[in-house]
C-alpha cells in the first residue's frame, strides 16, 4: 500500500509557514542568531535558531491557550497549516503521532527555578503541559483525531520515527490518515546540557566545515498529513510527495557517542531503502543529520560512502541544520519537510556557513547556495543520543 503526504505545516527560525521555510531554504538564509528566550549569561555559546515573537494564535480556544506550552503552540501552528492544506476532516480513522523531547520543559523549568528561589511563581497551570504528550492531545482535540494516538521520544530521531510509525499504522489498517510530525522548543535544560558537553558552537554551526565546533540548537515544528494513497486520490486531495519507508537501528554503543564504524547509521539507511524498494543508485539527494559536531559529520560521511559507493561524490548532501539549527525532536520532521520542498521545488537546499573543506568530509555538501536540480528520491537521516538511528525515504509524486 502506498502512503502519501497530502498536507504540510511549518514553523521555525526561518519563519511561519511552509512557503517561508521553502523561501529560506532556497535563498540559503541562516536563522541562527542571538539567543533571547532566556539569559545566556554563563553559557559558552549564545547562539540559537529561535522562533521570534511566538504568540498564541487568535483561533486557539482559551481553554487551550491558557495552559499551552511553548511546544504546544509551535505544534498547533504547524498542524493548523497541514490540516488546512490537506482539508483533513477528523474521525475515528484519523490518527496522531508526534515526535518530541522537551514538551513543556521551558515553562516547567522556570516554575521550578522560581520555587527553588522562593520567587513569585508562574501561574499554576504551567505544570499542566509538562509531559511531552500534551501536544498530541491538544492537536487531537482541536483537529478531531480520534484514531490511534502516540508520542515518540527518541531524542534527535523522534520526528523521523513519528512519520515512520504513521505510515506503518496506515499500512496496517489502523488509520486511513495520520497527523504526524515533530516539535520541540528551546529550554535551559537542553541548552545547558549541550553546553556542558561542549557540543555547542559559539558561532552559527558549520556542518562539514574543517573548523566546525559543534551544533546550534533550534526550535520549531513540522507537521504532515500522511494518507492512504487511494483514499487521498478518491477525495481529490493534493499529493505533495510519497512516503516510501523508513529504517531504524540502535548503536548499542554509548549514551552520547556514535559508533566509530558508523555501522548503526549505515544499517538504518539500508533498512530504509530495502523497505522502500529503492536502490542506492536512485537517491538524488541526502538531507544529512549534519549536526556539525566533529564526530557526526565525519562518521555520517563514512556511512554515506559505504551506502552509495563511488557514486557518493555525485549525490548532493546538505545539512539544513545550518539554517534552522538542531531542533531535537522536531529535526527529523523538519528535515523531511526540507526534502518535500526540494522534491517539489526542483532544487537542493544548501549547507550554509560551510567555508573550509575538511579532507575527511569531501562529498558535495552544496556549500553556501541552493542549486536548481530536479530530484526524484530523497533520503533523510536522524541520529539520536543513545544511538537511535532513523532514516526516511521520500519520493516526488508524479
Amino acid at each position: 500500500m502506498r502512503v502519501v503526504i497530502t498536507g504540510a505545516g511549518s514553523i521555525n527560525a526561518l519563519g511561519v509557514g511552509t512557503a517561508a521555510f521553502a523561501d529560506g531554504l532556497r535563498h540559503g538564509r541562516c536563522g541562527i542568531g542571538a539567543l533571547s528566550l532566556f539569559d545566556a549569561a554563563g553559557y559558552r555559546s549564545a547562539c540559537a535558531a529561535e522562533v521570534r515573537s511566538l504568540a498564541s494564535p487568535a483561533w486557539l480556544p482559551k481553554a487551550i491557550a491558557r495552559r499551552a506550552s511553548r511546544s504546544d503552540l509551535l505544534a498547533l501552528i504547524a498542524a493548523r497549516e497541514a490540516v488546512d492544506a490537506a482539508r483533513l476532516a477528523g474521525g475515528t480513522d484519523v490518527g496522531i503521532v508526534i515526535g518530541a523531547t522537551t514538551g513543556g520543559m521551558f515553562g516547567s523549568e522556570e516554575q521550578y527555578r522560581r520555587r527553588l528561589g522562593h520567587l513569585q511563581p508562574l501561574r499554576r497551570s504551567v505544570m499542566a503541559a509538562t509531559p511531552v504528550s500534551t501536544s498530541a492531545d491538544v492537536l487531537a482535540r482541536l483537529f478531531g483525531c480520534q484514531g490511534p494516538r502516540l508520542t515518540v521520544s527518541t531524542a534527535c530521531s523522534s520526528g523521523g520515527n513519528a512519520l515512520g510509525i504513521a505510515a506503518d499504522w496506515i499500512r496496517a489498517g489502523r488509520a486511513t490518515a495520520v497527523l504526524c510530525g515533530g516539535v520541540d522548543s528551546l529550554c535551559r535544560m537542553t541548552f545547558s546540557g549541550f553546553n556542558a558537553l561542549q557540543a555547542l558552537d559559539t558561532v552559527p554551526c558549520r556542518p562539514f566545515d574543517r573548523d566546525r565546533a559543534g551544533l546550534s540548537l533550534g526550535e520549531g515544528a513540522a507537521m504532515f498529513v500522511l494518507e492512504d494513497t487511494e483514499r487521498a486520490q478518491a477525495r481529490g486531495a493534493t499529493v505533495l510527495a510519497e512516503f516510501m519507508g523508513y529504517g531504524v537501528s540502535a548503536d548499542a554503543h554509548h549514551i552520547t557517542q556514535p559508533r566509530p564504524d558508523a555501522a548503526g547509521a549505515l544499517r538504518a539507511m539500508q533498512r530504509a531503502l530495502q523497505e522502500s524498494g529503492v536502490a542506492p543508485e536512485e537517491i538524488d539527494y541526502v538531507n544529512a543529520h549534519g549536526t556539525a559536531t566533529p564526530l557526526n559529520d565525519v562518521l555520517e560521511t563514512r556511512a554515506l560512502k559505504a551506502l552509495l559507493g563511488p557514486r557518493a561524490y555525485d549525490v548532493p548532501v546538505s545539512s539544513t541544520k545550518s539554517m534552522v539549527g538542531h531542533c531535537l525532536g522536531a529535526a527529523g520532521a523538519i528535515e523531511a519537510l526540507a526534502c518535500v520542498v526540494a522534491l517539489r521545488g526542483g532544487f537542493v537546499p544548501p549547507t550554509v556557513n560551510l567555508k573550509h573543506a575538511d579532507p575527511e568530509c569531501d562529498l558535495d555538501y552544496v556549500p553556501g547556495h541552493s542549486r536548481a536540480r530536479s530530484i526524484r528520491t530523497a533520503l533523510s537521516n536522524s541520529y539520536g543520543f543513545g544511538g537511535n538511528n532513523t532514516s526516511v525515504v521520500l519520493r516526488a509524486w508524479q
Binding site: Y43, T92, L116, R141, T154, D251, A252, I255, T256, G386
Partner: protein
C-alpha cells in the same frame, strides 16, 4: 490451540514493583492482597503522606554492562526488568542482535535526576552542571542503556504518553513484530515517584484526600477520593508465534490485538465520560473473539486508580460495551497495590498475563464497598481462582488518549 496469525506471544516477564522485585515476589504479594503503599518519611502537613515506593534492590545482580554504572536510576530499573524478562523467557544469547527490538514507555523519565540537574543549574550556574548527567535525562536513555546491556541493534523506540505509556510500548512492540521489524521485542517501561511528580498531581488536584476524606487508594470503591502515587518498572518479552514454535517455548498469553484511540476530554484534563470509547472497544472484541453480541471477556484489568472521575468513566465505558455479559466478568485493577504512575500499565500487563496463566483474578486489595449499581463482578479483596481464557486491559490517560489490549491464555 491455534494462535490467530497476527497474535504475538508473551513469553517472559520482568518486574520491579512496590510489592516485590521479580515476577514471583510480585505475583504472590499481589495475590495475597498486599499493598506497597506506605507512609512517606515526610514532615509535610499536607498530602500526600503515603506512596508506593519500590524497595532497595541490587541492580548489579542483574546488570553486566559497565556502561550502566553511570546510568540513571530509572534506566537501571528498566534494564533489570529487561534482563529478568529475557531470562524468564529462556531466550538464548545467540539471538541475532538485529532481530531483537526494544520499546520503552515512560511518562516523565528520570524525574528525580532531572530535578537534581535543574537544581544545580539554577543554584550553581551553567558552568557547574554535570555534563554526564544530562544524557541520562533524555526519555530514551533507558532504551539506549538496554540496547547496550543486551547488545541489540534492532528497532529501538521510546514512547511517552502519560498514564498509557506502558500499554503504548507493548502495543508498538506488537506492531514491530507484525511488520517484520523484529522477531522478539522487549516492551514495557517505568516511571518514578518524585517530589516534582507529586507537585504536578497536586496541581491537578488529583491526589487522595485533597478534597477531603482519609488518604487511601481503593480503585472502584464507593468511598474512593483520589490517587496515591507509586513507581515501578516492568518489561515483557513479546515474540512472534513462529519464533515461539521454532524454539518450542511456552507462553503466558497471547496479545491478540489492541486498539489505540482518543476520546474527547477537557483540555489538559481527564475525560469525564467516554461513550466514544465503546465503538473502538466493541470492534476490538469482535475482531479478536468474533461478533457474537454476548461475547464478554473473563477478566478485565482496568486502569482505575481510585480517582472519582476516571474510575467512574471506566465502569461506564465497560458497561456500555459489555452490557449483559458484564455480570460474568471479573473486574480488577492493581493500582491499590502499586499506586499510580505513568508506566504502571506495564505492570498491569504482567498481572494480566499471570492471571490468565494461573487462572487467578488478582484482588482489589483495599476494596471495602463495591459500587452496587455497576454490573460487574468486582474482584474481592482476596485472589479468586476462576477459569480464565481472555483478559482485557483498558487504560485512559489525562488528555483523552486511550488504549485497550486483548490477551488470550496460551495453551
Amino acid at each position: 490451540m491455534d494462535a490467530t496469525p497476527q497474535s504475538v506471544a508473551v513469553t517472559g516477564l520482568g518486574v520491579i514493583s512496590p510489592i516485590g522485585i521479580g515476577r514471583d515476589a510480585f505475583w504472590s504479594a499481589l495475590c495475597a492482597g498486599q499493598s506497597g503503599i506506605a507512609p512517606l518519611a515526610t514532615t509535610e502537613a499536607r498530602v500526600p503522606r503515603l506512596a508506593a515506593r519500590i524497595p532497595e534492590f541490587a541492580a548489579r545482580h542483574f546488570i553486566r554492562s559497565s556502561h550502566l554504572r553511570r546510568a540513571d536510576g530509572l534506566s537501571r530499573s528498566i534494564v533489570c526488568a529487561a534482563r529478568m524478562a529475557l531470562a524468564d523467557a529462556g531466550l538464548p544469547h545467540a539471538l541475532p542482535p538485529e532481530r531483537l527490538g526494544i520499546v520503552v514507555g515512560s511518562a516523565l523519565g528520570d524525574v528525580a535526576e532531572s530535578a537534581q540537574y535543574l537544581a544545580r543549574l539554577f543554584t550553581k550556574g551553567p558552568s557547574l552542571v554535570s555534563p554526564m548527567m544530562f544524557p541520562n535525562l533524555v526519555l530514551n536513555a533507558p532504551a539506549s542503556y538496554a540496547a547496550m546491556e543486551l547488545g541489540c541493534t534492532g528497532a529501538n523506540l521510546t514512547v511517552s504518553h502519560g498514564e498509557i505509556s506502558g500499554e503504548q510500548a507493548i502495543a508498538l512492540g506488537c506492531d514491530l513484530i507484525r511488520a517484520g521489524r523484529a522477531d522478539v521485542v522487549l516492551a514495557g517501561g517505568g516511571d518514578q515517584f518524585a517530589e516534582i511528580v507529586v507537585a504536578a498531581y497536586r496541581d491537578y488536584r488529583a491526589l487522595s484526600s485533597q478534597r477531603g476524606g482519609p488518604e487511601w487508594c481503593s480503585p472502584y470503591d464507593v468511598d474512593r477520593n483520589g490517587i496515591i502515587l507509586g513507581e515501578g518498572a516492568a518489561m515483557l518479552v513479546l515474540e512472534s508465534a513462529q519464533h515461539v514454535r521454532r524454539r518450542a517455548a511456552t507462553a503466558y498469553a497471547e496479545l491478540v490485538d489492541y486498539v489505540s484511540f482518543g476520546v474527547p476530554a477537557p483540555a489538559y484534563d481527564w475525560p469525564l465520560r467516554a461513550p466514544a470509547a465503546a465503538g473502538p472497544l466493541r470492534e476490538l472484541i469482535a475482531r479478536c473473539l468474533g461478533s457474537s453480541t454476548d461475547t464478554g471477556v473473563d477478566v478485565v484489568c482496568g486502569s482505575a486508580n481510585s480517582s472519582r472521575r476516571l474510575d467512574a468513566c471506566e465502569i461506564d465505558v465497560l458497561a456500555r460495551v459489555f452490557g449483559e455479559a458484564a455480570p460474568r466478568m471479573a473486574l480488577t485493577s492493581i493500582k491499590g497495590a502499586i499506586g499510580e504512575f505513568g508506566a504502571a500499565g506495564a505492570l498491569s500487563a504482567v498481572a494480566t498475563c499471570l492471571a490468565l496463566r494461573e487462572a487467578i483474578v488478582p484482588p482489589l486489595c483495599n476494596l471495602t464497598r463495591a459500587p452496587t449499581d455497576a454490573p460487574f463482578r468486582f474482584a474481592v479483596p482476596r485472589a479468586e481462582r476462576r477459569p480464565l481464557q481472555t483478559g482485557l486491559m483498558l487504560s485512559m490517560a489525562r488528555g483523552g488518549g486511550s488504549i485497550a489490549l486483548l490477551f488470550r491464555r496460551s495453551a
